[in-house]
């Protein structure tokens, strides 16, 4: 399917719904959204104002869905959205927005700008103005099964490694298990600690779980690029596997957008509610902890701080769970300024980390996170998203900061009380 301006404009028209019409109707051009956006606060460049990134979509709304706009269009008085304009807007929509949702929390008239950017990307992709690295990642996800090109043998190799290290069998294709565990490419390649930690925690808690050969990848670049048809194809693999294995719950890994893709967009992409639950790993661990099945011993003496991944906290509602879990294993847990739902993004969400063109801007935007980390005085940074983790590791290295980044699941496993008798 070739991309054309016409398809893009049609897509803009399709995505505009009552909420978007109310958002554009309400905007008073106060500019407060800029103050919530790390791409503006760290560069001071007005073009990074969130509502400005939506200008082509706004004009389509005005020209197609308001009486005055339609009159203006009929009289030839309105400025049409052109290919050249969308090309100019592409870096604004893909490089300088991580879909973090901070502007949506700040807008005094209540505009959910992130909701609009997510929808606008559908038209950008349909008009041939999606970011090229994201196109490549999405193509790999659809054809190979993972945005980083990882196939099942790579996962199998990691399973063998984990089994040798822990002496615990990693269940695969186990029908009737309670939980289907997913991973992100980043965890398979860079952070094998995750699967190892999970195996040990689940063994101790007596959790029945499984991996699926054809649905191990949780990430979904389709929702980042703005291609709902591809996003649906990617998410449907998980749905099919979950239904085949008759699991009660699918566990989204330490990855932000994977949770959004599966938990909030998934049923809407599929066009039907799921017959199973979707939970983030932190929700599952918190439940196990509350039920007394996740026992830990000892506490980390280091000063620790926690980075809330945007899609887990602000856009996912998982805020208290990591705090409860951290306080269980850390004696010096320190909150960052603005922690929780108003946390600042690492700068690499929403597909920005996969976008090589955006790297200099991303590193500049990281200065905000740098300041937050420094304010705590901690040198150990805990998080629950492999993408945030790799983006922050790069940022910390770039700014020569002596800070270690670890995943929360992995930290918990370090203090796990293991029953050696079984």
């Amino acid at each position: 399917m070739s991309a054309t301006l016409e398809k893009g404009l049609n897509s803009f028209k399709e995505v505009i719904d009552a909420p978007i019409a109310s958002f554009f109707s309400s905007c008073v051009h106060c500019g407060l959204c800029a103050e919530a956006c790390l791409f503006y606060t760290e560069t001071g460049d007005a073009k990074y104002t969130p509502i400005h990134k939506l200008e082509p979509l706004r004009r389509v709304w005005q020209q197609e869905y308001t009486l005055l706009g339609k009159l203006g269009k009929a009289l030839g008085l309105s400025l049409p959205v052109t290919d050249a304009e969308l090309e100019e807007w592409e870096p604004l929509v893909y490089d300088s927005c991580t879909l973090c949702g901070r502007c949506s929390m700040v807008c005094p008239v209540g505009n959910d700008l992130t909701y609009m950017i997510r929808k606008m990307r559908e038209g950008m992709a349909a008009s041939g103005h999606a970011q090229e690295d994201l196109i490549a990642a999405t193509t790999r996800a659809v054809t190979i099964g993972s945005p980083m090109g990882i196939k099942w043998p790579a996962v199998l190799a990691q399973i063998k490694h984990v089994q040798a290290e822990t002496g615990i069998e990693v269940p695969v294709e186990k029908e009737g298990a309670d939980y289907l565990v997913l991973m992100s490419s980043m965890e398979i390649i860079n952070f094998p600690e995750y699967l190892s930690a999970l195996s040990r925690i689940f063994k101790q808690a007596g959790v029945s779980w499984t991996l699926a050969q054809d649905a191990f990848e949780a990430t979904n670049s389709g929702i980042q690029i703005g291609a709902s048809d591809l996003a649906r194809e990617i998410v449907s693999r998980i749905v099919v596997a979950a239904e085949r294995l008759k699991v009660k719950c699918v566990i989204s890994p330490e990855c932000g957008h994977a949770f959004t893709a599966l938990r909030w967009e998934g049923p809407n992409l599929m066009g039907r509610p799921f017959g199973f639950e979707v939970k983030h790993i932190l929700e599952v661990l918190d439940e196990l902890h509350k039920a007394g099945k996740l026992k830990t011993q000892g506490k980390d003496k280091r000063a620790l701080t926690y980075h809330d991944p945007c899609q887990i906290a602000r856009r996912g509602g998982v805020v208290e769970q990591p705090r409860r879990l951290l306080n269980e294993v850390a004696s010096d847990f320190r909150e960052m300024p603005d922690a929780g739902v108003m946390n600042w993004c690492c700068g690499g969400g929403g597909g920005v980390s996969a976008n090589t063109r955006a790297e200099p801007l991303r590193l500049q935007a990281f200065k905000h996170k740098k300041g937050q980390i420094e304010a705590t005085g901690a040198h150990t940074l805990v998080t629950a998203c492999a993408n945030c983790r790799i983006v922050m590791e790069e940022g910390l290295e770039h700014y020569h900061m002596n800070t270690e980044v670890i995943g929360l699941t992995e930290l918990l496993a370090q203090y796990l009380v293991e029953d050696n008798a079984t």
Binding site: A18, H29, G317
Partner: protein, 219 residues
């Protein structure tokens, strides 16, 4: 046409037409928004945030943490202007009398001196906000003809009302007519400019609160 005829026209036909256009415009704009509809959300919402949309309608009036400090002019200017305007429209005794005549209901007003002070404050706030719009790079970039038009038609009723109350500039009857015409201009333009946020702000805030609330986040 002598000033009295002008006032009669301003209070009569002109006002009726303005009110009709205002009402039709508001209904049209609401229809334009709601007519687009919204697909049902098939994701199971978290159960801990019922009524989030309704709450956000009000809570969004308060600045989120840190923002007041970053943008004091916008927030303080915004509060002073909106509260001043509200006091003038709904709590000035002659206006309440006007509403009583038109709708049959009235309510206690504020002392005239207080309303007068709030008019001055609102006018001053509009001045500061215009200066900010012209000098702040973000606001200047976002602003176009519509923003300055909206500013002007909002200022005029406040200004003409103030001048009429203090018997300044023109003879009172003429000034009062001008005040009424400025209100009528505002009424006619409100549905078709960003001033429509007077109504749509409650819709957009509701959607925002609902979208976040389904995910268990109070926005």
């Amino acid at each position: 046409m002598n000033p009295l005829d002008l006032l009669t026209f301003a209070r009569g036909d002109a006002l009726n037409w303005a009110l009709m256009l205002f009402a039709a415009g508001v209904v049209l704009r609401l229809f334009e928004i709601f007519g687009l509809g919204r697909k049902p959300d098939l994701a199971q919402p978290r159960s801990d945030s019922p009524g989030s949309g309704w709450r956000t309608m009000f809570t969004r009036s308060l600045p989120p943490q840190g923002l007041l400090k970053r943008e004091p002019v916008t927030y303080i200017g915004g509060y002073v202007f909106h509260l001043g305007l509200l006091a003038n429209i709904f709590f000035f005794a002659p206006h309440i009398e006007f509403f009583r005549n038109m709708f049959g209901i009235g309510w206690p007003g504020l002392p005239s001196a207080m309303v007068d002070a709030s008019a001055v404050a609102a006018i001053a706030a509009l001045g500061v906000l215009l200066a900010h719009r012209l000098t702040n790079p973000v606001k200047r970039m976002l602003s176009g003809f519509g923003d300055y038009l909206a500013w002007a038609v909002t200022l005029l009723p406040l200004l003409t009302g103030y001048l009429a109350y203090h018997h300044l500039l023109f003879e009172y009857t003429l000034m009062l007519s001008l005040h009424l015409f400025s209100v009528e201009l505002l009424l006619v333009l409100l549905p078709f400019t960003k001033l429509f946020h007077t109504f749509s702000v409650f819709i957009s805030r509701w959607y925002n609160g609902d979208i976040f609330g389904r995910k268990g986040v109070a926005s």
